[in-house]
Subunit: 202 residues, 2 copies
């Protein structure tokens, strides 16, 4: 089963920091890193595949999973529920596979409490608040009120970064992926992660 347990990399970011793109790129380009597939009650969007992008479930199914303690963290975003299924995570840890979780600050707290030293928390921020504001406005898809709300929320989320292990300032997507790669590779080399009784030399 390998010389160490798997590592849960938790990626959080204030709204608008480019976290979703970054985690998708990371899983594609960093060997041996898998994405956790969340359960959600929202409807599938065009191009999304059940079981790959999300596990699409009904409100009733989600509620039952929560009650049965099958989700290690949950979040309510607008009108939908999102949650991280427990079974595949714990299987990955046991099998020494590394998983990337793209979750919010509250979810990261829950995961850290549950999995302790198996968890590595990475916080991603845009280079400045002004930069974030420009990004949000450039999308042009949102009303002024929505932009203001998102900025306020981002400031609040931002203040959680001291709870994290690593801080990545995302001014360039390429560079940010390479930084995340360095974190993943370095964590894999940690002596503290070697299984008890591990002897590289015989």
């Amino acid at each position: 089963m390998g010389m160490r347990r798997g590592i849960l990399f938790v990626l959080s970011a204030p709204s608008g920091a480019g976290k979703t793109t970054l985690s998708r790129e990371a899983v594609e380009r960093i060997a041996g890193l898998e994405a956790s597939v969340s359960a959600t009650t929202r409807a599938p969007r065009r191009g999304e595949t059940n079981g790959v992008d999300y596990h699409f479930v009904t409100d009733e199914e989600f509620r039952r999973s929560m009650e049965n303690n099958e989700l290690v963290e949950t979040a309510r975003v607008f009108d939908a529920w999102y949650g991280t299924p427990r079974a595949p995570l714990e299987r990955a840890l046991l099998e020494g596979r590394d998983v990337l979780l793209d979750i919010d600050v509250n979810g990261a707290r829950a995961i850290a409490q549950l999995y302790g030293s198996d968890v590595v928390r990475v916080f991603v921020i845009p280079p400045s608040f002004a930069d974030l504001e420009a990004r949000l406005r450039k999308r042009g898809t949102e009303e002024e009120a929505a932009v203001t709300r998102r900025l306020k929320q981002a400031r609040e989320e931002y203040s959680a970064y001291p709870e994290y292990d690593y801080l990545i300032i995302n001014s360039d997507q390429e560079v940010a992926v390479e930084k995340l790669r360095a974190v993943v590779e370095a964590e894999r080399l940690k002596v503290s992660r070697l299984k008890q009784g591990f002897t590289p030399w015989t």
Copy 2:
């Protein structure tokens, strides 16, 4: 002066693990990483430059430096003394520059005691004991007795790896440098290294 203090990366390895080549390559290829220049009482070899490869000093000068507490660690190897000068290290830390120290297990202990969380310890081992034995014999420059002594010493040194933060298994020089790069880059992203009062966002 930057957003964090400098980091002292300490590289140790059992005799014959390829540490000297690895640390030379690392300093050449990892941006912003400098080598610490040791003081030594041994004679310069062909091609070595005073102040670049080593600070070449007399026994008397070395003894005086030790007495004046100007060396943070010292080692006796065969008939010569080696030591790490304190002043340039502490200047680097203050100025936020990162330094690589290529020192033995005892030196690493001394440095860790002095500089605590500013120190990151990396241990390098060949893929197996058999591999190390083959390497030492292939050099062909050493008597059987010397090879036996080095192997015994390597086993002893090897047993210190649990004191280190990271373990790099050096089966390929290129790969080993990239692993060391990951460690350096990841450590630079650690939230715990950010200076108090640091605010990336304004």
